[in-house]
């Protein structure tokens, strides 16, 4: 059995990881990024199953999960910060056969 992990990263290209337990602001978690163990300081509380940033992101940066764009940051996001409706929206160029506006999720 391998060592107990604290984080799931689904795809190697992803810039967010998912918390496997509730993370409190200020705690350090170990994350395996492309085969290397890194320590990340958690900057804000992250509920179980929620996303947090694996790197510092600028406003407008594409957020990748499953190796694909799932959204875009609407302000700067620090490494270790909770990523959710308060700092991210659907990615640009969201495709909608009926109405492109409908893909925007209210923050």
């Amino acid at each position: 059995m391998s060592r107990k992990r604290q984080v799931i990263i689904i795809h190697g290209k992803d810039n967010v990881g998912m918390a496997l337990s509730p993370f409190k602001a200020g705690m350090d978690v170990s994350v395996e990024i492309r085969g290397r163990i890194e320590k990340i300081k958690i900057m804000s509380d992250v509920p179980i199953g929620h996303k947090f940033a694996l790197k510092d992101m600028d406003e407008g940066e594409i957020i990748l999960k499953y190796g694909e764009p799932i959204g875009q940051s609407i302000r700067k996001i620090s490494r270790g910060e909770h990523v959710h409706t308060h700092n991210m929206i659907s990615p640009p160029h969201s495709h909608s056969p009926l109405s492109p506006k409908d893909t925007q999720v209210p923050g």
Binding site: M1, S2, K4, R5, Q6, I8, I10, M18, L20, P47, I48, G49, H50, K51, K65, Y66, G67, E68, P69, I70, G71, V83, H84, T85, M88, I89, S90, P91, H93, S94, H95, S96, P97, L98, S99, D102, T103, V105
Partner: protein
């Protein structure tokens, strides 16, 4: 790599060796059920359609019923008709016969009532069962497997654990030359452009986008804007932020392969690798469509738990929720919740799922099979008249 399956006269291979009774119309369903009562190794389809469907629905019903007969998990077929139905049992038999398997037809009005039909049906089935017993499993390349994928009763563990783990297993099967069916068109909404950029040709991408628009327009006509209703407040509480994220969680269970083909409902793939079938998200109609399209095995992820099975195809239930696994032990085959406890990687769980697929394809019984789940419901578009 091989599994142990049954070779059919047309060269296809099955994971099971069922004798199948198909009522070609709802009127003969009672007789079809009675024929199978008390006999082991024979199953019937609880079909209530076959009369009253017009236009494209008539074609859908015929294709779905014939698809079950043609599925390589079926050894031979008895079709039971009433006699005056619009879709005749002979028409369905004609579709199945090129597969080279034995197909018989009996008709209640011609037999002279239900009792005589049941007696004659049982006689034919006993012969078929005797013939089926003589066939043995043999090594068959896993490249001949068509694996259907499905998720139902999803929760936050589905997108985090069970779906991506199944995705690894699908990628492994495709690497061996096998075929994986992704379906549930309404679940693509929000991530359709992320799937279509993996399409092998622009034509396949166009077919997927047209199918998404069709479902979206149908839902809109019924008063539901699917994009606005998703992700739901429950999804957001569970950590899903955008519709793209939610839909990708569903799509990712079929792995990362290029999309080789678009299939209408209940249509067999002609290509190997990842294919997409246009089905509703309604679990039982989706399951029925993939089986009618020739899937010999299904993997079904569930967060909250789901009992569905198929009359002729093993359905492997996989959950990432440890409480669901404990609570619904008789329904669920595999627990991948150790991913969420940080004790197993997605890749390790994916490998375990792939191995389970090979074991089940080779004869290991699933929970739904042990329970005798024979769920069947066809998709159709319009009213019966």
């Amino acid at each position: 790599m091989n599994f142990h399956g049954y070779r059919r006269p047309d060269g296809k291979a099955g994971t099971r060796n069922h004798v199948l009774v198909i009522p070609s119309v709802g009127c003969s369903q009672g007789a079809a059920m009675a024929i199978t009562t008390g006999l082991r190794g024979v199953v019937y389809l609880p079909n209530i359609l076959g009369c009253g469907q017009v236009g494209e629905d008539r074609g859908l019903v015929k294709r779905t019923l014939a698809g079950f007969g043609k599925n390589p998990n079926v050894f031979s077929v008895l079709i039971v008709g009433n006699g005056c139905e619009q879709l005749s049992p002979e028409e369905i038999a004609k579709e199945i016969k090129p597969s080279g398997k034995r197909v018989e037809v009996i008709v209640i009005q011609e037999m002279g009532g239900t009792r005589k039909t049941i007696a004659q049906g049982k006689k034919i089935i006993k012969e078929m069962l005797h013939e089926a017993e003589k066939l043995n499993r043999e090594p068959i390349p896993v490249s001949e497997l068509i694996l259907g994928t499905e998720c139902g009763g999803s929760d936050f563990t589905s997108g985090l654990a069970s779906n991506p783990a199944v995705g690894f297993a699908c990628d492994m099967l495709i690497a061996e030359g096998g075929t994986v069916i992704l379906s549930e068109t309404p679940e693509l909404i929000g991530a359709e452009h992320l799937l279509t950029k993996r399409a092998r040709t622009p034509e396949i991408a166009k077919q997927v986008l047209e199918a998404v628009a069709w479902w979206e327009e149908r839902a809109m006509r019924a008063g539901q804007n699917i994009r606005e209703a998703n992700p739901s407040p429950g999804n957001i509480a569970g950590g899903i932020t955008t519709l793209e994220e939610k839909s990708l969680g569903c799509i990712y269970k079929a792995g990362t392969g290029l999309l080789e083909e678009f299939l209408p409902y209940a249509t067999p793939p002609r290509k190997r690798g990842l294919v997409f079938m246009d089905t509703p998200a309604h679990d039982i109609e989706q399951l029925t469509g993939m089986v009618a399209g020739g899937a010999q095995i299904i993997v079904f992820t569930t967060g909250l738990g789901n009992p569905l099975g198929s009359p002729i195809v093993p359905v492997i239930k996989i959950t990432g929720n440890p409480n669901t696994f404990k609570k619904m032990r008789d329904n669920i085959d595999m627990d991948v919740s150790r991913i969420l406890q940080g004790k197993e990687t997605l890749k390790e769980a994916g490998k375990r799922i792939f191995e389970e697929v090979i074991s089940v394809a080779s004869g290991k019984m699933t929970r739904a099979e042990r329970l005798g789940q024979r769920d069947f419901c066809m998709f159709k578009m319009n009213v019966n008249i």
